[in-house]
Symmetry: C2
């Protein structure tokens, strides 16, 4: 029941080692990313994915690349950092953790009072590594709070991958499941395969199998019928961005899952760190949704599964309205309705402290 | 706007020509089925699929194979027919049209008053060909009645394939769309790809493209978000078996679609011939649901998309409760709620006549 063997991202000093998740579960291939462009491309092609994980990867990329910049002073380094930050920001639009992590790095640079550029570079390295370790700690805290919502014997439906692969380590929704199991609960997971890129079958099934947590793999279209025929106790998903009112963007298919959960009176939970909450966005309507290439729908593993040049709609995410959500599981506890009020409260009280901003 | 080019099944005298739908849309390969076993295997591996189409294929298989039986009298032929019928019946459990077509053939044999075995064989051949031609006529009638439910400008969501490939020709749900378009309506189709076997992307997209009907292809998990973001005017699906109370079994994912349609106040229609209605089955609870091999979920086109030996649930169908259905579009008209009463009425009034039983 340890997932310590899974290291999606590791800091290796002169490079960042990234497990190429596009190759899983068939091959465990690691990429040696040696510059910003390597990491940006790895994020774009989803070699590393999951909102918290891409935040960590971006922070590390900035920390790594800045070591090589030939700058005499912190002031000279700043424009370079800004440029790198812009490149990384442009990789993917929906997950706000990317923005959050880059802002954290830029704030560190801006607020550093040193006039020694090498000291600043070192501070940025330490900050990136801290973001990484904090993310694991935060996931553990999410797991601890969330497991309280999991019955002693529970069937939990989830979508996409929210485990060690999607985060610095341990996981958000999958972290809740892991903690419930560690606490002696009997948890059975229903993993929705997550078309088009099969993070449920390729990644979540792989993590659950490694951990020995019992599960069944289903196609996304089977979730409703599973709820009806076999029943489930709760749905727990991750999130890529949570608006100030609790509307939560997550992997495409999550909205359908939330409607189906409502229909079957199954509580629907979102598990995510505070860094996924974007207080600057009032509601889900304002969350930018990435649309990805049609080839993800029209071919699988290079094989065509549709006629050539068909018209495709391929949003990578959708938005679950706050009213469908039983609770948002954060490192500060489970936030419940009314979300507008309680997110603000939780954010004010816990966010600063836990995110280490204070 | 003609689909006459698509011939999924044709009677060729000494063999049945079946378009191998597992190879579409990449290749148009035709199978020459020369005996019962050829046809049974073609049904089992889904080279021919769709409830009406497998009924037609089974009837033709019986008619073809019986020509070769060395029997002196109709009485001597009967046990052979029964044996063949059992083999065909055992191919797939959910679609009742298979049972219906085989019963029609057996009834023909039993009620034939000839003592000439060759005359009986010829009568069976004529009956199979009539089932085939009737199916096309029935689909045209379904289209005529159903198109009335389609607004002048309409976005229609559908799942799986219900077109020429799924029937003798023309189609059920897709037949309704075809007729609406022929009648000058502006129809935009949303084709749900239909995991695991991609009948939506492989087959429906192929048919729609051939017909020049505008459409967009989505993953099944996107249907809910499509309804929410872009809106739709109706959902029309086919059916594999309809219980006496209107509960309708159809391709897995149809139940989820019906829940999503209800959530978004989109009318949900089922289009199917009377032969899909099984009056011997009171409710959806009693419809047998085929579970198919886990490989359909764990690999695609021979490529693994999940770790080895994972636990999989792979029902090929699910059941839409009657209360979610706005209407069942048959060749006799649109049957509306209360279904228990109105199906019985429609079946008594129209079923006999249209199915040519009288």
């Amino acid at each position: 029941m340890q997932d310590s063997s899974i290291k999606a991202i590791t800091w290796e000093g002169d490079h960042i080692r990234i497990l190429d998740q596009t190759k899983l579960p068939v091959q465990e291939v690691y990429l040696e990313c040696r510059n910003i462009e390597d990491v940006a491309c790895a994020i774009e092609r989803l070699s590393v994915r999951g909102a918290p994980a891409i935040g960590v990867a971006a922070a590390m990329a900035l920390a790594m690349e800045c070591q090589k910049v030939n700058a005499g002073t912190p002031e000279e380094l700043m424009p370079h950092l800004e440029q790198m930050s812009i490149r990384l920001m442009n990789t993917r639009p929906t997950a706000v953790n990317l923005k959050w992590a880059l802002k954290k790095m830029m704030d560190k640079a801006l607020n550093s009072r040193t006039s020694d550029v090498e000291a600043l570079k070192d501070a940025l390295k330490q900050e990136a590594i801290r973001i990484y370790h904090d993310d694991i700690k935060i996931n553990m805290a999410i797991g601890g709070h969330g497991q309280a919502a999991v019955p002693q014997e529970a069937t939990v439906i989830t979508i996409c991958n929210t485990g060690s692969l999607a985060t610095g380590g341990y996981g958000t929704a999958l972290g809740v499941i892991r903690t419930a199991v560690k606490n002696g609960k009997s948890v059975f997971v229903v993993s929705s395969e997550t078309r088009p890129l099969m993070q449920g079958s390729r990644l979540t099934a792989w993590e659950l199998q490694k951990d020995g947590i019992p599960f069944v793999l289903i196609a996304d279209s089977m979730a409703g019928y599973y709820m009806k025929k076999k029943g489930a106790d709760l749905v727990i998903t991750g999130a890529d961005r949570i608006a100030a009112n609790g509307d939560s963007a997550n992997k495409i298919g999550t909205y359908s899952l939330s409607v189906l959960a409502k229909e079957h009176n199954i509580p629907f939970y979102v598990a995510a760190p505070f860094s996924t909450i974007d207080m600057s966005v009032k509601s889900g309507e304002d969350i930018p949704i990435e649309e990805r290439p049609s080839e993800e729908i029209t071919s699988i593993a290079g094989k065509p599964v549709a006629p050539e040049s068909v018209n495709v709609w391929n949003p990578a995410f959708d938005v679950v309205p706050n009213s469908y959500i039983a609770g948002i599981i954060t490192e500060g506890g489970i936030i419940r309705q009314p979300f507008n009020e309680n997110i603000k409260k939780a954010f004010d009280e816990k966010g600063e402290e836990i995110n280490g901003k204070s």
